[in-house]
Symmetry: C2
Subunit: 253 residues, 2 copies
């Protein structure tokens, strides 16, 4: 009998749910966990430790920010290779058959029942929990800004990415520009708008659905993952992002 809590955890880990910040943190790719029965989807254990299975370092940055900002954070608990929480359900990259240059054999020829099981156990409960939380904040009159925390690989399909970080957005140009400026001023690093990706409704989920559709300011933070591989790097980025994001608190202290 598989262990429910360890093998099939609740789809979302909520950190600091009563946090007082205006910021709400979301980290969709926080975990590379797969229940044992999936046998890693046929991917090697070494590959499952890389960016194809999760966003390396992102969970630790999100947890650190939750603490320094006194903000709630919602972290995914399953590998994005099972179902990607930041892709619309049924979109091509939702359950990828290939990630960068790695085939994902266990995602080929899936039955409808298995696709539906992943939606029900992983995708829907994560986003339902975030949605219900945001509904309650609105009911309680709490101002809210969404910040999702991601990391990217320095080299993708052979192409090097020069940015230290990217701030991605859909509608929230001003919020994103203020964070970019704050980060660049404090660190002198190369922080770009809408790099290494752009956000759109066809290939993203949290920013358009939890942000745009609710008229909430929302940005996606991408940190180059070689900068947050150890505790020092993580602390450095929490220390950079924290003060910049804290300047958006409505209720100080």
């Amino acid at each position: 009998m598989a262990s429910l809590a360890e093998d099939w955890p609740e789809a979302v880990e909520t950190v600091n749910p009563s946090g007082s910040s205006e910021i709400v943190l979301i980290c969709e790719h926080a975990s590379n966990h797969m229940p044992a029965e999936y046998r890693g989807l046929g991917v090697s254990p070494a590959d499952l430790r890389t960016h194809i299975a999760w966003d390396v370092g992102a969970a630790e940055v999100a947890r650190g920010l939750a603490e320094v900002l006194d903000a709630p954070a919602f972290l995914g608990t399953y590998s994005r290779l099972l179902i990607d929480l930041n892709r619309p359900f049924r979109s091509p990259a939702s359950i990828p058959a290939r990630s960068e240059a790695t085939d994902i054999p266990g995602n080929l020829g899936l039955s409808e029942a298995e696709i539906e099981r992943r939606r029900r156990t992983m995708f829907t409960p994560f986003h339902d929990k975030v949605a219900s939380y945001l509904d309650r904040r609105r009911a309680a009159g709490r101002p809210t800004r969404i910040v999702t925390i991601h990391s990217f690989t320095p080299v993708f399909l052979g192409v090097a990415r020069p940015w230290h970080a990217g701030i991605l957005f859909d509608r929230s140009h001003d919020f994103a520009e203020a964070v970019i400026e704050g980060l660049a001023r404090s660190s002198g690093l190369n922080v770009a708008a809408n790099q290494p990706y752009t956000v759109d409704r066809e290939s993203d989920y949290a920013i358009p659905v939890h942000g745009t559709d609710r008229d909430l300011p929302a940005i996606l933070v991408e940190i180059r993952n070689d900068l947050i591989t150890d505790a020092n790097g993580i602390a450095e980025w929490v220390g950079r992002l924290g003060p910049v994001l804290r300047s958006f608190h409505a209720g100080q202290g």
Copy 2:
């Protein structure tokens, strides 16, 4: 600014989520809480302490059973007068304009937006959480029996109800009969099948949806609320129900 955690709590309180029991407890009417902005829906504070707003004593019995059975329990956190978790959404009793002989002024002439808000903040997140949990138990191969905990008023619209408790069911005749027999044998009390109500899909939710639709054994326990008004009565009923329900554990110890 209203307090989010106290005024607009998460719609479900999960007790002992990693409990090892085959039994999963649900207590939909555990709380008579209403966010301050509802001003009690125009009902007097005295009436809001009665069975019209919640199932008196049921939460304490559910918590006690969660402990003695090592079972998970899902408890509602809002008054049933806002939206009844054990009625189908949009059914006549979902948001009652009258309960027993008491008018509920704050439920008259509701806007669609307010009905939708109650669904999104209270009804849907409660049942999504239960559904996702049951999905994960199934994925992990954990046998499951649903037991919902309710209480009823000794006199309803002037008619006295003679039973000490009722065990209600839809398909789970054998499970219900075994619990009735176990309770009657150990206590000598008047425990009836399908009293003081029957269960049906038009006026109930948890048993048909979480039980019948999943092919899980499922019963609804109704305890006469004058028997569980104090700690002694609650302990007595936990002590009665616990051993009877424990006999259905698959994984003993």
